[in-house]
Structure formats: structure tokens, C-alpha cells
């Protein structure tokens, strides 16, 4: 990840604001320390640039925050990518032997004496090791501190999301320029990753970035790139994403391969756009997830097989609204959501619109921009 040069966001301030929110949360909830393993949580509390990987690993303590000392400690054997407020003495080694990792953690000042420690997961093995070798503190959920801190974005975080949005838009244009009958989803995915990487964000948030929809028979949302050449006249979903300084943005547009949209495709696209506008308009502070379900149904739509919305920040975040979840999720000023409208029609195909939306003041502000199907 390049470009983290303070030209747009003040990264020192961004990190300080995040740390302040975390330590205030520890104070508020009476938690003495955090042991965190989730990629977004580690980035949030430490600000460190760590190696991007695909997939999710079981819990391991990669970052530790101690309320008493107000220090953040990080599993990193070297200082590269580690911000200056985390000193050499705050780093602990990469170990293959969990007992060595536990021994290093036991040396973190203030951790052994902690009475309540928040974690973002556990494994039966780490739970045993922590209790035996690190601290006999009660292990509780870190989410009241971490999820609460991450939910509302600071202006610097929104700037990062705007930069990520710009990179994602470039990913969309790379795919749109290449889209023609005969090209494969796999080739479009390659072009997407190439463009996004060359703009400084080599590890995209998802490789689910495009799929062609069939003009005959049942239409399903697909996630894995296929080798089949895209057919003339097929509706093709282009759904790029990008990470900037860890912040994720994404959007989606649908295009017809090889020709201008016919009437049936244009009708589907305009229904998709209408529902999208209704969803975005419902993303208002004071509303809840139920309002998104309500406007979706009011537009005449049935259950959606993909989420209507979910949080965005340092990666995908709660709340999840859709798939039966999130009716009670409160929408607040300062949240950022990925919002999407997915519509299908047998004999025509499928149409997806997705946007990254900031809840600011009274209304929703769309951070991602791109022309709709016309």
C-alpha cells in the first residue's frame, strides 16, 4: 500500500483520534486491556501497515492495548510499517510456539494485573494459554469498545474512504473499457486488480468484482470468476473495490456487453436504480435497518438474496442489514454503509447497483460516483 504521505489525510491525527476513542471506550466500560486479532481492529488501534492476506484466520493476539499505561503493543518483529507512537519496547515477536507468544505477552506492562480483558475472539487453546501464562483476567467481548469506536467515522477516515472510492471507480473504468463479447470474468478480474494495484492499493478487499448474468433462465448472484466467454448482449455486473490505508470502498454498475441496452434491460436497470435511490434515501440518521427493508418492499421487491447494506470502514463492518438481519440496527450520523440494489428478471438478466454512502447530517452522501446504465 503506497500513497500514505499525509497529502490528503493527516495520518498522525487519524491514528490519535482512533486511539483516543479506544481508550475512552476502555474507561467507559471498565475494561483494563484489549487483545485483538481481527485485521480491522489491529489496524484501528495500532495504525500499523501489516501484510495483507486473503481469508480469515482463527483468533491470535496481534495487538494489545493497556488502559493503565495508555500504550499499544504490536506483534511485529520489525519497525517498518509501525507508526512512531509505538516504540521498539512495545513490539513483540512473531512466534510459531504459542507458549513463546504467551511469555512475550506476559511481559507487556499492566497486562498481567488486568482484571477484565476484551478480545475479538478466542480459541480454546489461546483461552487456556492466556489464563495459564498471561493473565487470570476475565475475558470479555471487545466489541462494545471496538465496534462502537469504529462505527462513527472521523473526517480523516472519510477522506481515506473517498480516496478508496476514487481507486474503486478506476477499477470500474478498467473493466468497463475492456467489456466486450468474448472476454471472460477472469480476464476482467485481472484487469481490475491490475488497475487497482497500479494506483497503490495492491490488495483489493474482494475478488468478487464481476459476473455476467444469463439472458435465459434463472438468474443468480455469483461470486466466483468463471472462464466462460461473456455473450453478446448479456448484462454484466461490474463491482470493484479498493482499500486505501486499510479503508474499504466499493461500488457496482451493470453494463450490457457489446451493444446498447434494449428496452427490457433498460427497464430492469431503471427499476434497480429506483430501488437503489429509495435505499440510499432511507440511510438517514434516526432510521433503522427496518426502514431499508420497508423501502425495499415498498418498491415491490421480495426478499433479497444479498445484503441491502452493511457497514464499511477498515473493511466490512456491522451492521448487516438484509438476509433477515439488522432490522433493529440504528443508523447514526457519521456511519458509512455499502448499500446495494440487486434485481433480476428471467429472460433479461440481472442488474446490480452498489454505492458507498456516508450518513452526514440529515442525509446520505454518496462517496462513490459513476454513470448509471443509459
Amino acid at each position: 500500500m503506497g500513497l500514505e504521505d499525509d497529502a490528503r489525510a493527516d495520518f498522525a491525527r487519524l491514528r490519535k483520534d482512533r486511539r483516543d476513542k479506544v481508550f475512552a471506550g476502555l474507561e467507559r466500560h471498565g475494561i483494563d486491556a484489549l487483545m485483538l486479532g481481527g485485521v480491522g481492529n489491529v489496524r484501528y488501534v495500532s495504525g500499523a501497515r501489516q501484510l495483507g492476506r486473503s481469508g480469515v484466520l482463527p483468533f491470535a493476539p496481534v495487538a494489545v492495548a493497556v488502559r493503565q499505561t495508555a500504550r499499544v503493543h504490536l506483534l511485529s518483529t520489525w519497525d517498518e510499517g509501525v507508526p512512531p507512537e509505538i516504540g521498539y519496547e512495545d513490539l513483540y515477536r512473531m512466534s510459531w510456539n504459542p507458549a513463546n507468544l504467551a511469555a512475550d505477552l506476559a511481559k507487556v506492562p499492566g497486562l498481567r494485573e488486568a482484571r477484565i480483558v476484551g478480545t475479538d475472539g478466542l480459541t480454546p487453546r489461546f483461552k487456556g494459554l492466556i489464563s495459564a501464562l498471561v493473565t487470570d483476567a476475565e475475558l470479555v467481548d471487545a466489541a462494545p469498545v471496538m465496534a462502537a469506536a469504529r462505527r462513527i467515522k472521523t473526517p480523516d477516515e472519510v477522506t481515506c474512504l473517498e480516496v478508496a472510492s476514487a481507486i474503486a471507480e478506476a477499477g470500474l473504468s478498467a473493466m468497463e473499457e475492456a467489456l466486450a463479447p468474448g472476454i471472460t470474468e477472469r480476464e476482467l478480474l485481472g484487469l481490475h486488480d491490475e488497475r487497482v494495484a497500479s494506483l497503490g492499493a495492491p490488495h483489493p478487499p474482494s475478488e468478487s468484482v464481476c459476473f455476467a448474468t444469463p439472458s435465459q433462465g434463472r438468474v443468480a448472484f455469483r461470486h466466483l470468476a468463471s472462464d466462460r466467454p461473456i455473450g453478446d448482449g448479456e448484462l454484466v455486473v461490474l463491482a470493484p473495490g479498493a482499500l486505501y490505508a486499510g479503508y474499504e470502498s466499493g461500488l457496482a454498475r451493470t453494463r450490457v456487453a457489446g451493444r446498447r441496452p434494449g428496452k427490457a434491460a433498460a427497464d430492469l436497470a431503471s427499476r434497480c436504480a429506483r430501488s437503489m435511490d429509495a435505499l440510499v434515501a432511507a440511510c438517514r440518521p434516526g432510521n433503522t435497518g427496518a426502514d431499508l427493508y420497508r423501502v425495499w418492499e415498498n418498491e415491490g421487491n421480495r426478499d433479497c438474496p444479498v445484503p441491502l447494506a452493511h457497514g464499511l470502514g477498515l473493511g466490512a463492518e456491522p451492521p448487516l442489514i438484509g438476509l433477515g438481519r439488522g432490522r433493529n440496527a440504528a443508523l447514526d450520523d457519521g456511519m458509512v454503509l455499502s448499500v446495494q440494489s440487486w434485481m433480476t428478471e428471467e429472460g433479461v438478466g440481472g442488474c446490480l447497483e452498489r454505492a458507498t454512502v456516508e450518513l452526514a447530517g440529515n442525509a446520505a452522501s454518496t462517496l462513490t460516483r459513476y454513470a448509471r446504465m443509459s
Binding site: G38, G55, T77, D79, D193, R195, H310, G315, L320, R325
Partner: protein, 393 residues
């Protein structure tokens, strides 16, 4: 090419054997690689928190004929999984709807069952306070340790795709190229060639000539691997490359040393480093066969490097590879000599040898050779070109 259906069947049988051997009634798996191992389910490559929120879940019940899969990625469901074993997603990271997760567990296991789990979310711990969880690693790790011939074929193919894409990346290597430009070319090409997913942000680390000129480290040894940036590469820069993709769930591991320049030729010292690296790997391979211990392999490597341990303090002489990019057998880690003495090579183990040769003042050489242990010795799974250092063994 591998028979993927047979591979899934044989893996599932290994999990069942281990459930029996460990006295565990079943598994609940939340980690990406464990789910892939147990079910063969496909999912798009995704960054950590996205992969977590939208994670697939596998449930393996002792005595059952197939795993249960809970996923929102319908197009990744294996064809041969029975319909009544395929379910919608569970979202175990959220309290909202966690009663559905609890109900699923209750469907599969009677009260008091001993269930292995690889990752516990707090929502799961709250919803199932009475379950006595054990660590799934006790079942999954021994099952994964020995690869079937189909698994070995998957690793070999993943590695081939990775190596072919690196040909294009290396052609771009010249002064002014940025690290991210190499990533861009590599990622595009590897997907064109057929990769299922990229596994890590590709690494193109510029090695400083001395340890002091490199990043500060806790152990005083080499800092590696550091994360790719938009750094410009300069003529003569020594680049330690490391990248991994997956194919059918199996990881590749590409490691080479490159020299920046349109027609870069290693100098005499660099050639010597390469030959020493080759000598270290060959010393280990010369004795590698079933029955040899990890400790003996480590000793042979150290001896070939005149008594100096030829690997980085926080790593290993060799690591296994499979659905995880680094898994057992781990040879030469901080698990210690006693562990290595008891770690005995067996047919079906796969090892990635990645010793490092370092000359203070002249940087060093690092590459990776992947071999599978056979009944009588080993077979190489990675390619045998090491440009610009030439071809060897």
C-alpha cells in the same frame, strides 16, 4: 490433473479418522482454510474483516457421510455435496440471528457432545454457554499433515500458475518500476492463467546490504517480509520476491531473489551466495526420506553453511504447505529442537525449503524449493529456474 471429488472424499475420511482417534464428536469450523479443507467450498478471495463478516461455516459430525456447509456463496458449493448438507449463511460474528447458529449446532449434536472449534466469536460463546469446546486444531492439523496424491497435484498446479505469472512480472523489473507495478502485472497474469484467488499481498522487498541499513528488528536478524509500497526500484537493487496464490483451495509459495536491471547479471559474490543456498537445500534433500527427523534436516542444512544457521530467526528452514500457506511440518522454528527431533518425515508431507544466505555488506540470497516426501525420497513440485542466477538441479 487431480480428481477433485476423490480428493474431497479422502480428506473427509481423514477428518473422520481423526475425530475417532481424538475422541471428538464433531467440528465447527469458522476459519477460511479449515472450511475449505473440510468442505471444498469455494469463496472469493477477500480481505480479513470481509471474509469474517461473511464467513462460511462447516460442521462435521462424527459418522456422517459428508460435511454440512453454511454459505452465502452458492456458486462455490461443491457439486457432490448432498442438498440436505447445504445451508444458508449463519453470520456467527453477529448477535443478531445467533439463535439460528445455536439451533444448527443443536440439530447436529446432542447435549454434552465434545465439539472441536477453530475460532470462537463472543456471539457464539454467549449463545452456547454450556458447550464444552475443544480446539479443532487437534483434529484438523493431523488430518492435513499428510497430503493425498490429488492434494499434491493441486499444490503443483497452484505453483505452476504462480511461476508462469512471475515470468511477466520479472520482465518489468528495471530502474523506475515501482513495487506495486510488479504486483499489478503479477495479479493480472495469475488470474488470466487460472488462479482461484490471490493469497497474500505480493512481496518485492528491496534488501539492504547490511542488517543495520534495513529495518530495526527485535532479534537483530533480517526483517522479512515487509509490505509492498509504491517504492521505486533502482538499478542493482536486490529483490527478495515472495508471493502465493490458491488453486482449488491449495496454496503456492513462490520465493526467488531478483536483481533490478534490464540485463542484470549477478556478480561473483552473489553467484557464490546462490551456490551456497543451493548447497544448503541439497544437503537437506540428500537425506530427505521417510523416517528422517526435522532435527536431522536442520543439522544437515547448518553443516552445509559452515555451522551457521541458514534461516531467519523468526522463520524456519522449511514449512509445510496445503490449504494454509504455512502449516506443519515446520522445521527449525522456535518450537525447539526437542519438537524437531520428534517430527519425523512421512510420505505425503510437503515441505517448502527456504534457507537464507546472508553476507553482511553484500545482502543475501533467498529462494524457495517445494518438495513432496515420497515412499523412498522426494519429488520436486516447484520449478527449477532461478533467473538471473541460472538453472540448477
Amino acid at each position: 490433473m487431480p480428481d477433485i471429488t476423490r480428493m474431497r472424499r479422502e480428506r473427509f475420511a481423514r477428518l473422520q479418522e481423526q475425530l475417532d482417534a481424538q475422541g471428538v464428536d464433531g467440528l465447527v469450523l469458522l476459519g477460511s482454510s479449515s472450511v475449505a479443507y473440510a468442505t471444498g467450498a469455494g469463496e472469493p478471495g477477500q480481505d480479513g474483516d470481509r471474509a469474517a463478516l461473511f464467513r462460511t461455516v462447516a460442521v462435521v459430525v462424527k459418522g456422517d457421510s459428508a460435511p454440512h456447509l453454511y454459505t452465502m456463496y452458492d456458486d462455490g458449493v461443491p457439486d457432490d455435496l448432498p442438498d440436505d448438507h447445504v445451508h444458508g449463511p449463519l453470520f456467527p460474528d453477529l448477535d443478531d440471528g445467533i439463535e439460528l447458529f445455536a439451533a444448527a449446532i443443536a440439530d447436529h449434536f446432542p447435549p454434552g457432545a465434545r465439539i472441536g472449534i477453530d475460532h470462537q466469536t463472543h456471539a457464539v460463546l454467549r449463545a452456547l454457554p454450556d458447550v464444552e469446546w475443544t480446539d479443532a486444531a487437534d483434529v484438523v492439523s493431523p488430518a492435513k499433515l499428510l497430503k493425498t496424491p490429488d492434494e499434491v497435484a493441486c499444490i503443483r498446479n497452484a505453483q505452476l500458475l504462480n511461476e508462469l505469472a512471475m515470468v511477466d512480472a520479472r520482465e518489468l523489473l528495471r530502474p523506475g518500476t515501482r513495487q506495486i507495478d510488479l504486483s499489478a502485472v503479477f495479479l493480472r497474469r495469475v488470474f488470466e492463467l487460472g488462479a482461484s484467488a490471490n493469497a497474500i499481498d505480493p512481496i518485492w522487498q528491496v534488501m539492504a546490504p547490511t542488517l543495520e541499513l534495513g529495518p530495526w528488528t527485535l532479534h537483530g536478524d533480517i526483517a522479512y517480509p515487509t509490505v509492498t509500497t509504491d517504492r521505486f526500484l533502482r538499478d542493482g537493487d536486490i529483490i527478495w520476491v515472495d508471493a502465493g496464490i490458491t488453486w482449488q483451495g491449495y496454496a503456492s509459495d513462490y520465493g526467488r531473489t531478483w536483481i533490478t536491471g534490464r540485463a542484470a547479471v549477478p556478480n561473483a559474490k552473489q553467484q557464490k551466495q546462490f551456490h551456497r543456498w543451493r548447497g544448503v537445500v541439497d544437503a537437506a534433500l540428500d537425506i530427505l526420506k521417510p523416517g528422517v527427523s526435522a532435527r536431522e534436516l536442520g543439522k544437515a542444512a547448518i553443516e552445509a553453511n559452515d555451522g551457521v544457521r541458514p534461516w531467519i530467526d523468526h522463520f524456519y528452514l522449511a514449512h509445510g504447505i496445503g490449504v494454509d500457506s504455512a502449516e506443519m511440518p515446520l522445521i527449525g522454528t522456535d518450537l525447539g529442537d526437542h519438537f524437531d527431533e520428534r517430527l519425523i518425515m512421512q510420505p505425503g508431507m510437503v515441505a517448502v525449503f527456504e534457507p537464507v544466505i546472508w553476507d553482511e555488506g553484500a545482502s543475501g540470497y533467498r529462494s524457495e524449493d517445494i518438495v513432496a516426501v515420497t515412499d523412498t525420497g522426494w519429488v520436486k513440485l516447484s520449478g527449477s529456474t532461478y533467473e538471473p542466477f541460472g538453472v540448477s538441479s
